[in-house]
Each structure stands twice: as C-alpha cells, then as structure tokens.
Symmetry: C2
Subunit: 99 residues, 2 copies
C-alpha cells in the first residue's frame, strides 16, 4: 500500500470527525495510542504490537490530514536523498547523534 | 512511495544502529521526535511541521524494524476492511468512542 493511499483511506474514514475534534484533541488520541504501543513493547505482546503500530500510524496520519500535510512529500523530502544527517543511504552518523 | 518501500529505506539506512541501540532506547528517540511534532503544532510552524511528521514516521518505522513488524501488513489488517470500530469506510462510530 502506498503511503498516499493509506493517508486517503484514513481521510475518507475519519476526516469529518477529525476536523470537528481539532488538531489538539486529535493529538491526545494519538498519544493514547503511543502509550498502548509502549505497553505492547514492554509486555512483549507480539500480537498486540502489530495492532498498536497500525493505530499509531493511523492517528499520526489523521493529525497530518487535519494539519494538511502530505506524508509522502514529507518523507521523500527528508529521507528520499539519504540520511538527513550524513546524506548516505546507509547512515554513518555518530551513534550518539541524530538520527 | 509504498509504506513497504519506506520501511526498507529506513531499514537499510538505520537497522544496524537501531539493533545496537535496542527497542527501548529507540523508543526514547521516537518520543523526542513526538515532542518536536507537538511543538511544531503548538507554534503553527508550517515548514517545521512537515519535517517533524517525516521524523516521527521514520522513528516509528525504525521501531517497527527492530521489533520485526511489517507496517503494511499491520495497517491492511487493521484498517484495510474499514474502520475497526464500525466496519465502514466512512466511520460512523460515536464521537466520544474510539477511533
């Protein structure tokens, strides 16, 4: 699935509700899912982990929709020409530094 | 760009460093980026926002790589047949409920 295809799927599914809720309240939902992802990692819940990754990605996408950000364009611009730190396709940045 | 293509790009770029760091420390980096996204939303920094969405998606993807989760399979399973709450492609769940 294309990132853009997923963003449109989430837009069709939720944008009307997302807009009414606003970006700040949508961010709270996103954080709730991030917490559930942390829990699934901590408890080594392999099955739950898959669902939590999907939910965090869906809520991140929904914030992008409300904020009017094209995720594909965003990642291509930042990572499409190599690591934003060292410019290589296999990162050689120092371990302590970003990214 | 396909979700899978982006996941492979991030894998090639960072997996060796990610594995050495481990999933818990990688999660801390992810949270740092989530904080920067919150700041860009709060300050209405339109240009910064695009980069922060890219970074949060990249770090989420990197955690998925370390955890061995295929993000495409995860989102198709959870959202590919409609809203996980109501089953429709345009969500009709009550506003107060998830999602």
């Amino acid at each position: 699935m294309h990132i853009q295809e997923f963003q449109r799927l989430i837009e069709a599914m939720y944008l009307a509700k997302d807009r009414n809720r606003g970006v700040e309240r949508t961010f709270l939902w996103f954080m709730e899912e991030v917490g559930e992802l942390a829990e699934a990692i901590r408890t080594r819940d392999a099955e739950g982990l898959i669902g939590e990754f999907a939910d965090v990605l869906a809520w991140l996408t929904t914030i992008a929709n409300v904020a009017g950000v094209d995720l594909t364009a965003a990642v291509v611009r930042k990572y499409g020409s190599g690591c934003p730190g060292c410019g290589r396709f296999e990162c050689t940045c120092p371990d302590a530094g970003k990214p």
